[in-house]
């Protein structure tokens, strides 16, 4: 498997970051955290972003410790998780052995997925391929993998969060919206598109726009361990968003 340069860079960074994500992953596999989304852990039972996944073939693109695939399996899906980081997959396999259930975990990039066309009903990502891969590579791959009527569902950072500064200057627009695509940070290379560009990319790949769920952090509660936003900000503006699109 030939990785793109950004994927190789991100792979190295995730090998380093994996220990930090081990315990949060374990808690979800262990059933201590119910199925929930993003940094504010909004419950799926409240958000209802997923369709009925029972008996569906799902692929999680950039699964990390694969806790979402474990949740999907417990909802009755037949998941597959793919990731390019050995350390993350090793943790996923450890938790799978400890807590179950079993499903395939494969070392592969969402930009070049070793599965045939039309193999899945749901292509899924929560802060996986959805931000770490180039959308002009991974969205066509996801569209190829989906069966007719299948759904692409992914969570990424909100647009307003990407163009504004970090706290304490989180209200300040500092990055341009037009032309946004690749963001090079010291510890990772991630990808974000504007609203119109996502819609254009979906349509070009035979995906119909179904929904854009913009996540509002509840007013009360603790801050997250991430320093790029605050609860107060994320209560007023969307720090995260979930796109849903359906294969024609």
């Amino acid at each position: 498997m030939e990785l793109t340069d950004h994927a190789r860079f991100n792979q190295a960074e995730w090998e380093k970051a994996a220990p930090e994500y081990e315990e949060p992953g374990r808690r979800k596999w262990a059933g201590e955290v119910p199925p929930s989304w993003g940094i504010w852990r909004i419950l799926e039972s409240e958000l209802r972003a997923l369709p009925d996944v029972a008996d569906k073939d799902t692929i999680e693109l950039g699964c990390g410790t694969a806790y979402w695939s474990a949740w999907l399996a417990r909802m009755g899906a037949r998941p597959v998780g793919i990731d390019i980081t050995d350390a993350q997959l090793a943790n996923a396999r450890k938790f799978m052995a400890q807590y179950g259930p079993e499903f395939p975990l494969i070392e592969a990039s969402a930009e070049d997925v070793p599965f045939p066309d039309a193999s899945f009903d749901i292509a899924f990502s929560e802060y996986g391929a959805s931000i770490w891969c180039d959308p002009y590579l991974w969205v066509p791959e996801a569209a190829r993998l989906l069966r007719r009527g299948g759904e692409l569902i992914f969570l990424c950072n909100g647009v307003l969060a990407m163009v504004t500064d970090d706290p304490p200057n989180e209200h300040q627009l500092v990055r341009d919206y037009f032309g946004m695509r690749r963001f090079d940070w010291p510890d990772g290379i991630d990808f974000h598109l504007g609203y119109g560009e996502w819609i254009r990319l979906f349509r070009e790949n035979g995906l119909e726009v179904e929904d854009l769920i913009e996540i509002q952090a509840p007013a009360e509660g603790p801050e997250t361990r991430y320093d790029w936003t605050t609860r107060e900000w994320a209560h007023r503006w969307p720090s995260e968003e979930i796109w849903k699109a359906q294969k024609r």
């Binding site: 647009v159 307003l160 163009v163 504004t164 989180e170 209200h171 300040q172 627009l173 341009d176 919206y177 037009f178 504007g194 609203y195 119109g196 819609i199 254009r200 349509r203 119909e208 726009v209 179904e210 929904d211 854009l212 769920i213 913009e214 509002q216 209560h235 007023r236 503006w237 969307p238 968003e241």
Partner: protein
């Protein structure tokens, strides 16, 4: 009529003469153009070929768009909530020798039959700006035939949350995004907006396929009789104006 359509009727009747005087030359050019920088439709290709189609302009003002589309072979109907705006439309139609029906009504309740329109569009008018989208989008879904096009140009939700105390867009987030819906200006007009996701859900609920969101980036130093040079400079970096293009399921 709802109270916002009453308020906006009063507002537009009052300011119509001044508006048409101020923008006449800018928006009265001989080919269809969109929005506050008057980007040509030939460049954006939103409406496509309107020849022989039943086209409704919702919030037609002085019918600058409608006259041009009628000349291209569209079967036009122009609708506006302001009688004074429609007087300007009649004068312009008389001057160009173009004639088509003008309807004086609020966009929330349009006196036309179900499935009678192929293209419903609006350029900074009732749809997306001056009428409640939660009422207007269902009304247009009723009027449009299967496969019919709904397109409208308006200011973006992004720009709404960046409007500062001087009523101009700035480089800071000010207004809360969640719950965007209705805003009353001190001049008496009432404006509407929704978060991006709410727009998409509204279209989908009413049987529309989302085809395209054109986010307009003006040329450097683009002219506008609506915006300041600072606002146009802002719009080179962030989306100020956009066109939704959605189509009724066929």
């Amino acid at each position: 009529m709802t109270s916002s359509s009453d308020a906006n009727r009063t507002f537009w009747d009052r300011q119509s003469d001044e508006y048409q005087e101020r923008h006449r030359d800018f928006i009265g050019r001989p080919e269809p153009r969109w929005g506050t920088w008057q980007v040509p439709e030939s460049e954006l290709q939103v409406l496509g070929d309107v020849t022989g189609k039943d086209v409704l302009e919702v919030g037609c003002g002085a019918a600058q768009w409608g006259i041009l589309l009628a000349q291209q072979g569209a079967r036009m109907v122009g609708l506006d909530n302001s009688a004074r705006q429609l007087e300007h439309a009649r004068a312009a139609m008389g001057a160009t020798g173009v004639d088509f029906p003008l309807v004086h009504a609020a966009a929330e309740s349009i006196p036309l039959p179900d499935a009678s329109v192929d293209v419903a569009f609006c350029d900074h008018g009732a749809i997306g700006s001056f009428a409640d989208p939660l009422l207007v989008v269902p009304e247009l879904a009723r009027l449009l035939r299967p496969g019919g096009l709904l397109a409208f140009c308006h200011f973006t939700p992004f720009s709404w949350v960046c409007i500062g105390e001087n009523d101009e867009v700035g480089d800071r987030l000010v207004l809360e995004y969640f719950g965007l819906h209705r805003w009353e200006d001190s001049d008496g007009s009432v404006h509407f907006q929704l978060p991006y996701g709410e727009w998409i859900r509204l279209f989908r609920r009413n049987g529309f396929v989302v085809e395209r969101l054109v986010e307009i980036r003006p040329e450097e130093g683009a002219e506008s009789t609506y915006l300041t040079a600072d606002e146009t400079a802002w719009a080179r970096r962030w989306p100020l104006e956009e066109i939704w293009q959605v189509r009724k399921w066929s």
